[in-house]
């Protein structure tokens, strides 16, 4: 089926060329980082994780969100999602690949990465995260590819895929729960030491992931013959609206606990993010933008008239997506390190090489996504030709 990605319009190849160019820039910048060390990034002794790990965390959420399509379709027989379930699975595949790459580029000694397998350590959450992420990648790749292959031949998917589909549902929840546990179990980081972390992660994931999926569906409608159907798009948009509402609600719970209890270490990171601390205000603009975008997005998506307006819908979804990205892909990880365990403040801003590497990884993910979507759409086109011709 992969050969279907080898023939396409001029626009398709131009897009692939742009991605390949960005990958080349990212890769050559990575070689520089490999030789000189992570010193070329903005990370420091105090803020020891930055853009890479934040993107990893955010993308685990995008990957997990495939269940928001799978659950209605497979468990509740919501047929309208039949066309897009494959898009959700392939989005998960591309996201997990990016997650793995973001972890890899963050390592100080990448050639030793297999030490994680050579010395398996069940008391480390990182060990479990590796297992759930690689398992999730395999599950989605197998389910998506097999279902599509069967569809091409005009058969229902083979029976052995069914159990994998059911396993993939709790598995998706597990990848984001385990990722939250990376942070939520650390004794000295008050901003992360919260029982609601996994719930927040899932809520923001189920908002950002489907938002991206709908944007992709709307793009595909313009660029290809694929039409997800407005009913399934509306259903997904409602999922986004309520998941984002839950996400904002959970965040407000954190604010209440920190400020009503008035415990300094719990207040300090939130203060830093939204108001700045001791004159350091690096993320204040971002965080308020996120807050405004979140409320605007929720408002537009809950209100039926704006949600059903397909001119407004992409902006509402983009607002939610960007808000979730700032919250998780920037504020949550960096905020956890500020102030440091001694109560001192070191700010963080990514450097250009770091941004290029990040863009390179995103381009790899987009290339994988492009190829997989191209195959899926070409198979569908072939089917409709066979049906009509």
């Amino acid at each position: 089926m992969l050969e279907k990605a080898l023939s396409g319009s001029r626009r398709y190849w131009a897009w692939v060329a742009v991605l390949l160019a960005l990958i080349a820039v990212g890769f050559s910048t990575y070689l520089k980082q490999y030789h000189e060390g992570l010193g070329i990034t903005g990370m420091s002794r105090d803020v020891s994780w930055g853009l890479y790990i934040a993107q990893f965390t955010f993308l685990v959420g995008v990957a997990a969100s495939a269940v928001m399509v799978a659950i209605p379709y497979y468990l509740h027989n919501y047929k309208k999602f039949g066309k897009i379930v494959i898009l959700g699975e392939f989005l998960a595949v591309a996201s997990v690949i990016m997650c793995i790459l973001f972890i890899f580029v963050d390592l100080g000694q990448p050639v030793r990465v297999l030490n994680v397998l050579l010395h398996p350590t069940p008391h480390s959450v990182m060990f479990w995260d590796m297992i759930v992420l690689s398992g999730y990648l395999l599950l989605n790749l197998i389910i998506g590819w097999t279902s599509l292959g069967a569809e091409r031949k005009g058969f229902p998917p083979p029976s052995w895929v069914k159990p994998l589909i059911y396993i993939a549902i709790p598995w998706a929840v597990s990848i984001h729960t385990v990722t939250a546990f990376l942070y939520a179990g650390l004794p000295g980081r008050s901003h992360w030491l919260t029982a609601i972390m996994a719930a927040r992660f899932l809520a923001s994931a189920f908002a950002a992931g489907p938002a991206l999926l709908v944007i992709l569906c709307l793009l595909l409608r313009r660029l290809s013959t694929f039409d997800a159907g407005s009913e399934s798009i509306q259903a997904l948009a409602k999922i986004v609206a309520y998941a984002m509402s839950a996400n904002v609600f959970f965040f407000l719970l954190e604010v209440f606990t920190a400020f009503y209890s008035h415990i300094p270490e719990h207040m300090a990171p939130i203060r830093y993010l939204f108001f700045g601390l001791e004159g350091h205000q690096g993320l204040v603009g971002f965080m308020w933008s996120a807050a405004i975008l979140a409320f605007v997005g929720i408002g537009l998506l809950i209100n039926p008239s704006t949600r059903k307006n397909e001119r407004v819908l992409p902006f509402a979804l983009a607002a939610v997506f960007i808000a979730a990205w700032i919250d998780k892909g920037l504020g949550l990880i960096v905020g956890g390190f500020i102030p440091n365990p001694m109560g001192r403040i070191t700010e963080y801003a990514p450097t250009f090489p770091e941004i290029w590497i990040t863009l390179g990884v995103y381009s790899i993910g987009l290339l994988v996504l492009t190829v997989l979507y191209k195959v899926a759409i070409a198979v569908r086109e072939e089917e409709s030709l066979a049906a009509h011709g």
Partner: protein, 265 residues
């Protein structure tokens, strides 16, 4: 078609398992010559739980503390990058407010408020860094020392996020050009690994006390917390002591005597 494919897969898997098993066995048997063994050195200082008591009253000036830090950093080839972003330190200094956050008040005795307290790895009994390390590159030895295996560290920095005391540093760059004078008896580190205080395990093995203790003029007391007759136990039994962030339950093995300016024996 399907029969041959099945046969092929079966054969392939069996071969893989066989090769893997053989490699594992090979690695297991080879490498140790017959009848050889490894022992601990007779000269080595031994303890069930190494601990340190820092008598802050004896640290009269910032120079006293700096001398200890220099001794440590020279001994262990700790580089000086000259900037706080890439900084590596095994021992540093903090004021009371920052070393013991949450314990300060607005009316502290000036002497304590201004004093620089040495801060280092606490060699916790329940170390969060050891719990999170995905490769056991950082691990707790039976004598209580939280040690690091720089050969194994993949540089994921999970331990730095887990440490509640800011005791860990990462080699953001190749440290070698930034070591003023290399101590040939101790290795340097390479870029991309995390490092921290090792309670001078390499000196204890040779029967020597830690370098900072030696340079402290008696301000640092080092010994076995499990031995009721040890000096650390005697000092802790007769003085009021505190530890950093005890509420987190990591059980630091570094104790601070804060006497408020009185002299201690």
């Amino acid at each position: 078609m399907s029969v041959t494919r099945r046969r092929f897969l079966k054969l392939g898997l069996t071969t893989l398992a066989g090769v893997g098993g053989a490699m594992a066995l090979d690695g297991f048997w080879r490498g140790s010559a017959e009848a050889s063994e490894v022992l601990t050195d007779q000269k080595a200082l031994k303890a069930k739980h190494w601990a340190m008591v820092i008598d802050s009253d004896r640290l009269k000036s910032a120079e006293n503390v700096q001398r200890m830090i220099d001794a440590c950093h020279r001994t262990h080839n700790v580089p000086d990058f000259g900037n706080s972003k890439d900084e590596i330190k095994w021992m540093g200094t903090e004021t009371y407010e920052h070393a013991f956050p949450g314990q300060e008040n607005g009316y502290l005795n000036e002497g304590i408020k201004e004093k620089l307290f040495p801060v280092l790895c606490n060699h916790c009994e329940n170390p969060a860094c050891v719990r999170v390390c995905p490769t056991q590159a950082t691990f707790k030895r039976p004598d209580g020392i939280v040690a690091m295996d720089y050969h194994r560290c993949i540089g994921c920095r999970f331990c730095m996020a887990a440490c509640a005391f800011g005791a860990r540093s990462f080699n953001f760059r190749d440290p070698r050009p930034f070591i003023k004078q290399v101590n040939p008896d101790f290795p340097t580190r390479t870029k991309g690994v995390v490092e921290k205080c090792n309670f001078c395990v390499e000196r204890l093995e040779k029967g020597l006390p830690p370098a900072c203790v030696e340079a402290s003029n008696g301000a640092l007391i080092f010994g076995d917390l499990d031995d009721p007759n040890s000096e650390v136990r005697q000092v802790l039994a007769t003085h009021y002591s505190i530890r950093r962030k005890p509420e987190l339950g990591t059980e630091p093995s570094v104790y601070y005597l804060i006497g408020g300016g009185e002299e201690h024996a």
